[in-house]
């Protein structure tokens, strides 16, 4: 930040400097929130009982308890896995093969750019609550949950963790996240895929306000064998901003400025452009079989999580 930027920041109106201030962290994940998380975990088990066990099976054969197949004994095989009953009946040395159980890696990628904290920071809070809820459900299902905050082309990472007991670590991590900087999804997620060799479900929680285009980030996940799940944080108030008259608008992330006179006609056009942008995201995801879910800030997070469960793709 140069001297001129400092001067600009100091000269800017009070509302501009403090509008992004988040609510106190303790309010974000209070007791009520944690009770709702527990309820979601129970609901998730009930809904998916029978077909969606806590454990995920992979096609790998290994040391699991579920029998999969037999194969001929070869040197070096563990004698413990020789099926002596077959040998007794058929005189062949066959080795029992078991399906190897493997935990799923869930990556919860939270957009921490300035646009997420725009206005009253509701989008950022909403994103963090959703992230916490999904993480809890994942942890409860013994999945490996990794949370990544992305902003300004950089990553802030919480190491993979598993088990419900780690939820407080998750909450603390989310509390410490701050919204600032620009959205550079393609660049950031390129770093993400490079750092995370273990593929899995990548839940992108973002408003997708990327000046370079939201497509780059999602494609980065797709092309690197991650299973992207787009949780689009939407604030409908941004469709029709409360503006009138002669103003100088500036982008809260990039600082790009434009002078214009806002009229009712122009607001209509803005609203139309906002809807078009949102539809383009939805269309992009649908055409590429990318799970997409819009999460308006005015719908409670627990309701949204349940909708996510019903729709599928997050838990299987």
């Amino acid at each position: 930040m140069g001297v001129l930027d400092l001067f600009k920041r100091a000269a800017s109106p009070v509302s501009r400097r403090f509008s992004n201030r988040p609510p106190p962290a303790e309010e974000l994940f209070d007791d009520e929130f944690q009770r709702k998380l527990e309820m979601l975990a129970m609901v998730s088990r009930k809904v998916f009982a029978g077909r969606m066990r806590a454990e995920r099976r992979t096609k790998k054969k290994g040391s699991g308890v579920e029998f999969a197949d037999h194969r001929n004994y070869t040197e070096g095989d563990d004698f413990r896995y020789v099926d002596w009953n077959i040998y007794q009946r058929f005189g062949k040395l066959l080795v029992r093969l078991y399906e190897e159980e493997e935990d799923l890696s869930i990556y919860l990628i939270v957009d921490c750019s300035s646009s997420m904290a725009f206005g009253d920071s509701k989008k950022f809070d909403h994103a963090r609550r959703l992230c916490a809820a999904l993480a809890y459900v994942g942890l409860a299902n013994l999945d490996r949950v990794t949370i990544v905050g992305v902003s300004d082309g950089e990553l802030v990472r919480m190491p993979p963790t598993r088990g419900k007991g780690r939820i407080f670590k998750v909450l603390n991590f989310l509390r410490d996240l701050e919204a600032s900087g620009t959205t550079e999804l393609a660049e950031t997620l390129r770093m993400f895929v490079a750092q995370h060799k273990r593929r899995g479900l990548a839940v992108l929680i973002s408003d997708l306000y990327d000046p370079a285009g939201f497509e780059g980030g999602i494609n980065m996940l797709r092309f690197n064998k991650f299973e992207p799940f787009v949780l689009h944080i939407v604030d409908n108030r941004e469709a029709r901003p409360d503006l009138k008259g002669d103003v100088r608008i500036y982008d809260c992330e990039t600082g790009d400025e434009r002078e214009l006179t806002v009229t009712a006609q122009m607001l209509e056009k803005i609203s139309e452009a906002w809807r078009t942008y949102r539809e383009s995201i939805e269309r992009f995801c649908a055409s590429r079989q990318v799970a997409y879910f819009a999460a308006p800030v005015d719908i409670p997070f627990e309701e949204l999580v349940l909708q996510v469960f019903r729709r599928g793709g997050f838990l299987r």
Binding site: S12, P13, R16, S19, S115, F118, G119, D207, Y209, P211, D235, E238, P241, L243, G245, D246, V247, R248, I249, Y250, D251, C252, E253, T254, D256, E257, R258, E259, L260, T261, T263, M266, K269, I270, A273, W274, Y277
Partner: protein, 625 residues
Amino acid sequence: MHLAGLPLSTLLTLGAVVGTLIVGLYILKLRRRPVAVPFSRIWQQVLRDKEATSLFSQLKRLLSLLLQLALVALLLLALGDPRTKQNLVEGRNLVVLVDASASMKATDVEPTRLDVAKREVTRMIDGLGGSDRMLIAQMDASIRPLSTMTNEVADLKHALEQVTASDTRADFLRALSFALDSLRGLGKAEIVVVSDGALGDLGRINRQLDLSNVALSYVKVGKSSRNVAITEFSVRRYPLDKSRYEVMLELTNTNDKPVNTELTLLGDGNIVDVTQLSLKPNESLQRFYKDLAGASRTLEATIKMTDGKPDELPADNHVYALMPERRRARVLVVTEGNTYLEAALLLDEYLDVEVIAPQKYPPAEKFDVTIYDSVAPPHDARTGPALYLAPPAQGSPVEIGKPIDMFGFDTWDKKSPLLRWMELGDIQVAKGFTFKPDKEQKVVGASELGPIMVSGSRSGQRYVALSFDPRESDFVLRVGWPLFILNTVNAFVEEDSSYISSFKTGEVWRVPAPSTTDVATLTEPGGKRRAVPVKEGRAFYLGEHAGFYQLEAPDAPPIRFAANLSDMEESHIAPAANLEIGKKKAGSLGEFKVGVRREIWLYLLLAVIGVSLVEWLTYHRRWTV
């Protein structure tokens, strides 16, 4: 085009300063309120559409600045007061004399002559040129300026609204004198007379005033002369029988045609007499009502046409008179015996006379008047005003001079109320003496040898002294003797037998009032009350309206009196076609054009308002932003 206001250099300086200020403010105006948006890309499509017209937008913004600069330019130009060459000529200075005399109440033009006169003056005001100035004055018995010399239309119209007609004649001489004084030293001076032309003796004006340096214009108001008036109305009690009275009135037909009229005499509002009268063209007819009796205090006379056609000047159709209230006066006569004196006092039944010998003086009771016959005892406050007949040197209120004989009245004050209706020149006196009055004392009558009748005041009480015993003359044998006694008593008890008639409007009235006060309250016929000054027992007031008045003073009973127009000149309502004073003939007025104000600054200001409106509209319609 010339600038009559601020000079060009000043205007240019002002223009530079204000223009710079406006441009500076305009640049500041372009600074807009910063507003954050979450994602400017969404705005880009809309902003691209705007960019297509950005050049036009800039031009429109420039139009806003140009409009504001145009406003400043117009205002500065207005300050410069630009005029065309022909408008730079010196403006006229006008004094408009609006006739508000009684004749202007005539209804021969709708609604009255005065209203038509006001309309004419309004037309003049509307047609005033940019440099013209006007003063409006009301002309009746007095001259009353109602505005300053100004060209403010609102002020002049407000002044004109205040003009009201009175029941007086117009004092044209005084009005012209005022107009000349107002116009002294001013260029293009002009006097405009808006009147019906009933303006009195114009020859006298010509002799007294020099009108050579001013233009004189005459605006005639009125068209006909159908009017019958009561031009005289007089009522009096008989001096020697004050319970009875007589009425004299005069009717005048100012029309050129004969008229039939009905005359009604009212006493205290009740009809006393109704008479049908026929008057020939321009005839004056006198009527007497003799030996009327009654307790009426107010007398009124009215006339109306019997042919059903209206009289065009109602103001002179009604006259008023008031007879003074009769009250009993207590008179003390201190004498050894004087038959002539006692006989004279017997003539007035309203006098309670008590005769006492000088030895019994002072009396125990209070008296209104005391007559000392050849005695002059020490003054007593209870005896009131006094008449001394041949007072001895000891106790005389006036210093006694030399004795004289065989003399008479050679000079006397004919206006003195003591000597009303009397002729003293024939009186022969055998012997007496002269008085040596001081400066405070007034000589009422004198022979060639010295003063013989003196009046004055002592201890707040008035007195009259006669320097001879009437019985030593033929005075007591003449009719003037009882008149003198009764006049003196009446003067002392402030009951003036001449008072029973009425005052004439348009003159300064000297109304008898208690001498103990300096200010009295006068109630006009319309109910309006005003304070009037009182000096030496008289209240002074310039009366302008006919009707009954009431004068009130502290610690004294109210005094009522009447006033009438009774003016033959005002009753002649035929308007004069021309106004000619000596050889100077008033011209007609033709220079005023309604609605034309040749002041360009006014139109510049209107243009400023127009441009402001355009700027406002274009701003709020978002055309210039």
